[in-house]
């Protein structure tokens, strides 16, 4: 369970996130939405320590130090980025392997002094990473350099990386951006199946309404850094403030 209370992020005079509180329980899928620039990504950055922030965060009841990248990661909270972040010169397999949270036998000392056990552990990891690639449908690109992937493929590579990390909570920043309808649908299915198989609780930042609708149990809406609405998807969509600020008075009709 991830519980964030009164998170506040300031950049000079700009208050990008203003006392936002939010809880993601195990197995739960929570949507975080809001107009552009309302502070969604900044909120995730604050949780994961990439920007300095005030407030408190607890993972499974244990407090987390803010402002330290990786602090929550070691407590089982992983994330993806709104612009996919992969290492262009590593192969896809290697990119995934980097996401493994297991520390044992991955140090300089192990490389020099404990070769046999290290190699044994490595082989096991390759398998795991390959499975993660299969999970997101990139297995046949396993030995391709990540720099060769298209935008959407990079997204899936990132997803494979966090998949291997077996997070307890996963923060996804616009996971469906750059995917077409079919691919979004696949992602929906992928995420539900994963969750049902004991996968992570999810915090979803997304602008694709149907995508959210299918997945989310609850939603929280930000505007200008402040929470303006929260609740079941149906309630939230019906909220006039959400209509005004986010959806526009008329929903896009194709």
């Amino acid at each position: 369970m991830l519980a964030a209370r009164d998170i506040r992020v300031r950049f000079g005079g700009v208050v990008a996130v203003d006392k936002v509180s939010l809880t993601v329980r195990d197995q739960e899928i929570v949507g975080l939405i809001g107009p552009n620039g309302s502070g969604k990504s900044t909120f995730i950055n604050a949780l994961t320590g990439l920007v300095p922030a005030e407030g408190s965060v607890e993972v499974d009841g244990k407090p987390v130090t803010l402002g330290r990248p990786g602090a929550v990661a070691r407590m089982g909270v992983l994330r993806t980025f709104q612009t996919p972040q992969v290492h262009d010169e590593l192969t896809c397999l290697e990119n995934v392997l980097v996401g493994l949270p297991e520390w044992n036998l991955r140090t300089l000392g192990a490389a020099w002094l404990r070769r046999p056990s290290m190699m044994r552990a490595e082989r096991g990891r390759w398998r795991g990473a390959y499975e993660a690639l299969e999970f997101t449908g990139l297995a046949d690109r396993a030995s391709a350099q990540a720099g060769e992937l298209s935008y959407g493929e990079r997204r899936r590579l990132e997803l494979a990386r966090v998949y291997l990390g077996k997070p307890a909570t996963l923060l996804l920043d616009e996971p469906a951006a750059g995917l077409n309808q079919v691919e979004s649908q696949n992602l929906v299915r992928l995420l539900t199946e994963w969750r049902d198989a004991g996968g992570p609780a999810l915090l979803l930042v997304e602008h694709k309404i149907d995508f959210l609708e299918e997945l989310c149990h609850r939603m929280i809406v930000l505007e200008l850094g402040k929470q303006i609405a929260a609740g079941e998807p149906a309630e939230v969509w019906a909220d006039p403030r959400v209509m005004d600020a986010y959806l526009g008075s008329v929903v896009i009709d194709a």
Binding site: N36, Y151, G178, Q181, V182, N186
Partner: protein, 262 residues
């Protein structure tokens, strides 16, 4: 206005674009659709001369396949690239003004104020640096910058990416408006949305056009989906895109495919 014949782009041994032919007429809006990795971005980049390519490339009746990207832009073929590519060290306003460089000697179609009207969210951000912007804000700047170039043909690579629905709507309304004066070549994942704007469309699969035609025809969901999956257009079914293969049936479920259309 723009005409490609047998365009080919290769990255080493991979043929990302494998003989595409395509036209965009004056005042026409054309959609370029396809799954991840189909070659859409590669096609646009090849047109802009950012990638070396084979094939014929004519703009305004002139062969432009040897032109430098910046000269092509100055002739009015303006490309709003994938990934926004906002100038990080420039303010929002300066970003927009740089857009004017490509206007060259053409009459201005847009002023910065027009852009601020289109994206009111940018108004308070005028002085903010590009690197501080949120994803969607960057997208607005990128589109605005492209408009300020007074394009004659505007190429947009996934303009709705990361934009809130209300902004997507605004963008598409604006595009519909300028369509009369500016030709548009649009890459968009949201096919339904794209086809409301566009007159015609092409669907790519593994670097080839597998389906093309008027928007209304393409709007036929079944054909579109089939072509996405590599079953419709007669192209080899071995898409290097693994996501789709085992899932044909689920996806073809009409309800599930009822994407953003609420």
């Amino acid at each position: 206005m723009l005409e490609l014949k047998d365009l080919r782009v290769a990255y080493g041994h991979t043929q990302a674009v494998d003989g595409i032919g395509l036209t965009v007429g004056p005042g026409e809006a054309v959609a370029l659709l396809g799954a991840n990795g189909a070659g859409k971005t590669s096609t646009l980049r090849a047109i802009s001369r950012l990638l070396p390519s084979d094939g014929e490339l004519t703009f305004d009746g002139a062969d432009v396949s040897r032109l430098a990207p910046e000269e092509l832009a100055r002739r009015g073929l303006v490309h709003v690239p994938e990934g926004r590519r906002v100038f990080a060290s420039l303010t929002v306003h300066d970003n927009l003004l740089v857009g004017r460089t490509a206007q060259a000697r053409r009459d201005a179609l847009f002023s910065p104020d027009d852009v601020y009207d289109l994206f009111p969210a940018l108004v308070p951000l005028r002085k903010r640096h590009g690197w501080a912007l949120s994803g969607g804000e960057q997208q607005m700047v990128a589109i605005g910058r492209g408009l300020l170039a007074s394009p004659r043909l505007l190429m947009l690579d996934e303009p709705s990416l990361g934009l809130a629905p209300i902004v997507v709507k605004a963008v598409y309304q604006a595009l519909a408006e300028i369509k009369q004066r500016v030709s548009i070549l649009l890459v968009e994942q949201n096919a339904t949305l794209a086809l409301t704007l566009c007159d015609r469309g092409y669907v790519l699969l593994s670097g080839r056009v597998v389906l093309s035609g008027a928007a209304a025809e393409l709007g036929d969901r079944e054909a579109l989906l089939d072509s996405y999956l590599g079953h419709g257009g007669g192209a080899a079914g071995d898409s290097d895109d693994g996501t789709t293969e085992g899932d044909h049936r689920t996806v073809a479920d009409p309800d599930a495919a009822d994407a953003t259309t609420r």
